[in-house]
Symmetry: C2
Subunit: 222 residues, 2 copies
């Protein structure tokens, strides 16, 4: 839902960039592609927000920690998605690569400077923030639902973003999903098997999911 957040800040084209394919945009010159290993930090909470980022390949999660060690995953970013814009001067969350990832990094000041005289760009930046806001709004709705509904919603959200086929590959672990949905890893796992048993999905591997009854999932998504 509320899927791709990539107006032409990095890429002029309107579709998400496919992995390993650098967007042919004016911003490509402002940004440098960087590699991040699995679990490597892209930026940390409370650090100055000096860059904008776009996922080229792999996947990224943003999260915040509660003092007692609980973790709330705020968002997953897939190829084409832009992130790191959420903040004022300082990052409100940390970002980590979920898997080996390639990320385009553009200096914020440079982007902003260009936005000064390019009306379009400024508007797009704003739009980006608004989209992000919508996403988070949507997410807070998720957190008042029950486990079944949360997981169903999650699967449909991911399906709406990744490939359009009948199966999706989840880049993130069960723990990531749990922390995103505000559940425990066990509850997520149990809900998956429950979905399998009721014929809603099938698991090719634990990370690869076949949709068998999308209508029923939509019904749960309430």
């Amino acid at each position: 839902m509320l899927a791709a957040t990539n107006p032409a800040i990095f890429a002029r084209q309107s579709m998400p960039v496919r992995s390993s394919e650098v967007p042919d945009s004016p911003l490509a010159m402002m940004g440098a592609p960087m590699r991040f290993a699995r679990n490597a930090e892209v930026y940390g909470e409370d650090e100055p927000a000096e860059y904008y980022y776009q996922v080229l390949s792999g996947a990224v999660r943003t999260y915040r920690m509660l003092d007692d060690g609980r973790r709330q995953v705020l968002a997953f970013y897939l190829p084409g998605d832009i992130f790191g814009v959420e903040a004022g001067d300082v990052h409100l969350s940390s970002a980590e690569a979920i898997s080996e990832s390639q990320v385009l990094v553009a200096k914020r000041s440079a982007v902003m400077a260009r936005a000064e005289h390019e009306r379009d760009l400024a508007k797009q930046l704003w739009t980006l923030t608004v989209r992000e806001l919508q996403r988070v709004h949507q997410h807070s709705l998720v957190l008042i639902k029950n486990a079944e509904e949360r997981v169903a919603g999650f699967l449909l959200e991911m399906a709406g973003r990744g490939a359009s086929g009948t199966a999706i590959e989840l880049p993130m672990s069960r723990q990531d999903i749990a922390d995103y949905l505000g559940l425990t890893i066990e509850t997520v796992s149990r809900t998956f098997t429950q979905f399998v048993q009721s014929g809603l999905i099938a698991l090719e591997t634990s990370r690869r999911i076949q949709f068998r009854n999308r209508a029923a999932l939509n019904r749960l998504n309430a």
Copy 2:
């Protein structure tokens, strides 16, 4: 937390406007004060977002409904706060007056038109959205905590916004609080009395709350 969101879009002064006092700003001319009765709708979900709003007196809640009737209150807006900016072209949530309220209403197109040539204004609009985003981020963190922590956080949030004294007046009902925190009215009520019994707060009336042990509340706020 993350309290007042009122850069000089409506008022040039940096402090929230006190109730019934119209901000002496250039924008006051772009906006007209309107009265809303208790529970009156300011705008509805999916309606075109044609105006920006600033609370002058009273209080406003924004919310979204789930199909099964559950309601998620997304935010409370107090005097000085600006709302209605969250959306693209369409409102993502509904807004209602919590009590008899006075709201300054400014045509969005007019504000945007001015923003075109007033750099400051444009920046402030963006800042406003970012602040809103921070608020919502914060809110989604709340929803993974337990009841005690949620209520404590709520009280501290309200304390940080309203008067600076040792007591606060809550304009909203227990039901509003419950829907904001993702709890039931009964759990909110029980948590309040629990706080009273442990000497953290005192209830002058059910809506008026005295702080007795802010340190303990902060500890719960985790």
